[in-house]
């Protein structure tokens, strides 16, 4: 067992501190210590994107970041997408477009799509597919997911005007 280190982070806007063994990945810290189980473990080796979160605004796989590396950083997980209990437009559009079946990949897709729309509010289909290339879905395929992201972009842009 590795030694534990105190890690101070901001998770979805809240200051969170936890004692983290040095050999623990951030995915496990978030699930087991912070209690945020929206983040999922798929492959555990950075291929599937189910564990996607943002770290200082950058989309990363939390299975390939050590918990100790998150010290002093700002984290957003899928739980941070809702506001006052209201689903984020991306979440609503995923439901409306049936862009999920089993749901394991969905939190990662939502976080990745949000990272894209924060940076590029009007992505083309090619840009959406490029941005979501690190997220794998083994149920629906990708078409409904792309449509849901396009619909969310439209709605978010309407709200901005």
């Amino acid at each position: 067992m590795s030694e534990a280190v105190l890690v101070s982070t901001t998770v979805n806007g809240d200051v969170v501190e936890f004692a983290c063994p040095t050999d623990e990945v951030l995915l496990d810290s978030l699930r087991d210590r912070v209690g945020l189980t929206g983040v999922k473990e798929g492959c555990g080796t950075g291929d599937c994107g189910a564990c996607s979160i943002t770290l200082d605004g950058q989309l990363v796989c939390s299975c390939l970041v050590l918990g100790v590396e998150a010290d002093g950083r700002d984290i957003t997980t899928v739980e941070g997408l809702t506001e006052d209990g209201e689903l984020h437009p991306l979440q609503q559009k995923f439901i409306d477009h049936a862009a999920l079946q089993c749901g394991v990949c969905t939190p990662g897709f939502l976080v990745a799509a949000k990272a894209l729309l924060d940076r590029n509010p009007n992505p083309t289909e090619t840009e959406i597919r490029y941005a979501l290339a690190g997220n794998l879905c083994r149920c629906t395929g990708y078409d409904k997911i792309v449509r849901a992201v396009q619909a969310s972009a439209k709605e978010l842009n309407k709200a901005r005007r």
Partner: protein, 265 residues
């Protein structure tokens, strides 16, 4: 993962001292290869030395006829940097094709190059552009850097600080990606330095190399068709579940032709 000691040094000297004191130390420079390797128990270092707080390893500098990139610069930073996109577009487009968004937001230039994965993209640019790898104590020419499968000219504990890429008149990179990982099955970078052609190949052999046979015909006639006359022997090429050595040898020519066509466009 097997347990290890974690260090976060504040200077390159401290990082080196920690490396020397460790039984089996390794630098963490993004971890997109190292961490999965450790999770699969293919690596079991006693000490992980995280370079994230070491100063002077970041930043992009545009020099006359060269682009200098700090070792800890992310792939996404290289891909998105306006200065590189205009001065050396082949490097930004190559970086933008590495893995996926999540990998590009975490993986670093120095980490990729020091690892010398046979299928990594950056090594094609190191040899194809004739880059210089600067470490704490010396400079290594790109031609002399990659030695073998996961082996480089770096000494144990030697830390890459920056990599300097000369700017050619024009250049192009074409790769045949593994559809799942987007690692290069074969990737070829062709660069034209005022009539002197350099060709860097990754993915085909145990490490990146210059394709001197292709360079020779392109120096005489810079056209995709001239590559038809070149024999690329498969001997020594990688032969694995992704592609046979013969197929890789074939792809070297195909990717080289596409890169030349792209470069002439």
């Amino acid at each position: 993962m097997y347990p290890f000691n974690y260090h976060r040094p504040q200077s390159a000297d401290d990082a080196l001292a920690l490396f020397k004191a460790a039984e089996d130390g390794i630098y963490l420079a993004g971890g997109q290869t190292l961490l999965p390797t450790m999770k699969q128990r293919l690596a079991a270092p006693t000490d992980l030395i995280d370079l994230c707080n070491v100063p002077d390893l970041r930043g992009i500098e545009l020099e006359t006829q060269a682009v200098s990139v700090g070792a800890l610069t992310l792939h996404s930073e290289v891909a998105g940097h306006e200065g590189i996109r205009s001065a050396l577009p082949v490097l930004s487009s190559l970086a933008g094709e590495i893995g996926d968004s999540q990998v590009r937001n975490r993986g670093t230039l120095g980490g990729s190059v020091a690892n010398s994965d046979p299928a990594a993209d950056y090594p094609a640019a190191i040899v194809g552009l004739g880059a210089t790898i600067h470490t704490m104590d010396r400079s290594i020419e790109g031609d002399d850097f990659f030695k073998d499968l996961f082996e480089t000219a770096l000494n144990p504990g030697e830390l890459i600080t920056r990599i300097c890429f000369p700017v050619p008149e024009r250049a192009a990179y074409q790769k045949f990606p593994n559809p799942a990982s987007r690692y290069a099955i074969v990737g070829v970078l062709v660069a034209d330095f005022s009539g002197e052609i350099r060709v860097g190949v990754t993915g085909a052999g145990p490490c990146a190399f210059r394709a001197s046979g292709i360079e020779q015909v392109l120096n005489a006639d810079l056209s995709p068709e001239s590559i038809d006359a070149v024999e690329v022997p498969e001997s020594g090429f990688n032969n694995d579940l992704h592609a046979s050595a013969i197929y890789r040898a074939h792809l070297v020519k195909v990717m080289a032709k596409r890169a030349v066509a792209d470069l002439l466009n």
